[in-house]
Symmetry: C2
Subunit: 406 residues, 2 copies
């Protein structure tokens, strides 16, 4: 990108960007980079007095953390695409950057090329952000889209995504929600002005989502998406990552495949949505070069959403304390009074039901399948009700339950 769009970038910055060196693990690997010297001595790059801006595109913490810290401490601006680095060490790194009077930018860490971090820091900065809902992981969105479109199981869809290069050989960070948790942690930090502890963020991945859930959700008018949600809650925040049912008429329901999106609700702006390709080398380049141009023109500064760096200390509510609606799929004995017993079990926890679908599951075994949806209630109450179903004898098996976001 720096080569192909060099003229436009020079015009925008007012001087050319010169690539001083490219640090790599294996200098022998062909990379299609012309003109710039490759080196395996990455520490020499961050110590090089000729280098004004370091682009950190390694990922993970080792050696990225020590290199970024050293670059900032040495008075160099840093652009990084590293979500784990910022989610776990954002407070410290932004503090070093502010103390040294240099810039630390990370637009590419969330949502690939979609502008998300900077619009929250700048154009939406006057708003009290009341809710962020993101589809922030492309791999899981590809898998869920394939499950919905082709009736595939999770395992089949994952294998296909791996074959097509949309999922890694070890897909755990994506499918278990860790990647999305890093990203919503960063966005929540910017929006609420304090960094949450990423370990406090509830995460539930998509391994347990079954094609039956997707089918019932469809009948009820919903799609299932891996959502990353952040909202203020008094002095604390609710931040969580989990699959959820989304009404088909919500704009997030139409975000398919490799696309990512962030829906923002601010007290003055109302609803705003940003969408686009959330990953890939070219969208990532777009975000990194955008940050680099801002640093080059000297317009990026001014702290991290506020004049002060954002500090740690945003306390996240335990998942049991949130309030939302729920979907639950049950196998029940096909006999009278079962429905009444189930409704009573929920009623005892003050959970009221909003929708129900029922069908024969196994005629010979006299089993039925019931799908219920609840009105909003406290998660602890919902869980207590679900946990009481099998022991009470009115339910044979709880197949699955999922949260519903409206």
């Amino acid at each position: 990108m720096l080569g192909e769009n060099a003229d436009a970038i020079r015009r925008k910055i007012g001087r050319a960007v010169e690539v001083v060196a490219v640090g790599v693990r294996d200098a022998g690997k062909p990379r299609g980079i012309s003109g710039a010297p490759l080196t395996t001595d990455v520490e020499a790059i961050v110590d090089d007095s000729q280098v004004e801006v370091v682009l950190e595109l390694i990922g993970g913490l080792d050696p990225a953390l020590s290199l970024v810290e050293r670059a900032l401490a040495g008075g160099k601006h840093v652009v990084t695409a590293n979500k784990e680095l910022i989610a776990k060490h954002g407070a410290r790194l932004t503090r070093i950057a502010t103390d040294r009077g240099v810039e630390l930018h990370f637009e590419a860490a969330v949502g690939g090329g979609i502008p998300l971090v900077q619009p929250l820091r700048h154009q939406l900065a006057g708003n009290d952000v009341l809710r962020l809902i993101g589809i922030l992981n492309g791999t899981t969105n590809v898998i869920l889209t394939r499950m919905a479109d082709q009736g595939a199981s999770f395992e089949e869809a994952l294998e296909e995504a791996q074959a097509l290069g949309y999922a890694e050989a070890d897909p755990a960070s994506d499918v278990d929600g860790t990647d999305a948790a890093y990203k919503i942690s960063i966005l929540g930090g910017i929006a609420f002005g304090r960094w949450p502890d990423v370990d406090q963020i509830f995460r539930e991945g998509i391994r347990a989502v079954q094609r039956e859930d997707i089918r019932f959700a469809d009948i009820l008018g919903y799609r299932i998406k891996l959502l990353a949600i952040a909202e203020p809650h008094g002095d604390r925040a609710i931040i969580r990552v989990h699959p959820a049912l989304v009404r088909k008429d919500h704009p997030l329901a139409s975000v398919s495949g490799v696309y990512n999106a962030l829906w923002v609700h601010g007290d003055f702006v109302g609803d705003v949505m940003f969408s686009g390709r959330g990953a890939g080398s070219e969208p990532t380049a777009s975000a990194v070069v955008g940050d680099l141009i801002d640093i080059g023109r000297g317009t990026a500064g001014g702290g991290f959403g506020s004049v002060e760096p954002i500090e740690d200390g945003l306390d996240v509510l335990p998942i049991e304390e949130i309030r939302t609606s729920y979907y639950v799929r049950l196998i029940v004995p096909d006999r009278p009074r079962v429905l009444g017993a189930i409704a009573t079990a929920f009623g005892e926890q003050e959970v009221s039901l909003s929708a129900m679908e029922m069908r024969v599951y196994d005629q010979a075994a006299e089993l039925g399948e019931i799908v219920l949806m609840t009105h909003a209630c406290k998660e602890a109450h919902f869980r207590a009700a679900v946990d009481s179903l099998v022991p009470s004898g009115c339910v044979v098996r709880v197949c699955n339950w999922l949260r519903v976001e409206s």
Copy 2:
């Protein structure tokens, strides 16, 4: 907004925003502004040495242009929501701002509270922007949405929109495409680095869109939207505003009612879309306060997408030279050889057809109704073909034709 979110805004800027004075036409009108002195002497405000930033929220050119010029020349930063001002005088005003070393910001001029201007200037700045397609006028989107959802005529939908406050008593600037032309002119100027002459921008409003067009479009799998389109074309640009058929599976097709959206295609970022409420006092406040916070933190600067102010001189292609696809609805004699004659008329202009719907229009009069869609062709050729239909005798009447964007 400055009052309600004062604490958060002060924290973000590092000092409080003090409203020195509010200039109004009628100081007696109740406005719910507490604390700030109202004055009808607006010139005194822009000359007041105590004032550091002027927010221009008057609209139109008189007296906004002279006030903004005077404020900038006097060394004051300016935030404006005035699309006409920037579309017509952006080059001169940005030049004055650059010369005086002050900021001129206008995020609210396009898309209400949706961040559009600044993401194009900053996060997407490294991209060669290959296409912008916007739904940038809420009034026409409300009218078209009502026509589609309720089968209303343009006149009925306009009246309803006026009754609900979505359309002004004189709706010309909205329904004839002028408002959208100002907005796409500004976005094109930012994206392509030179301001177009807004008078060169082709604009066709929505008065001629009939409910029959919306119905046929629906059958063919399209919605009709007032689109504002900008794309580079060699050293020139194609910039135009007109109703167009949009495939239902395109994300822009789902942008309904008061919502606005901008779809950006960049060479590296790929497709990115921004959407939200495009007008209203609260979303406008969101954008204006975002600009004000940036000025307050001193992070907004660095010219207007480049280190230099953007100059005039982006030449816009005449509409006859564009290439796109078309939809046309015809009343024809219900007799043999008519279809062949129509196909021949298009063929003679090298226009090939891609889809056709036909039905009886008036059995007694032996008239049929035909809807055709073409492959992409030069607009001059399409128009020549359409103009030849009635004279050739194979068509009784050309009811309407519209462009199709894919």
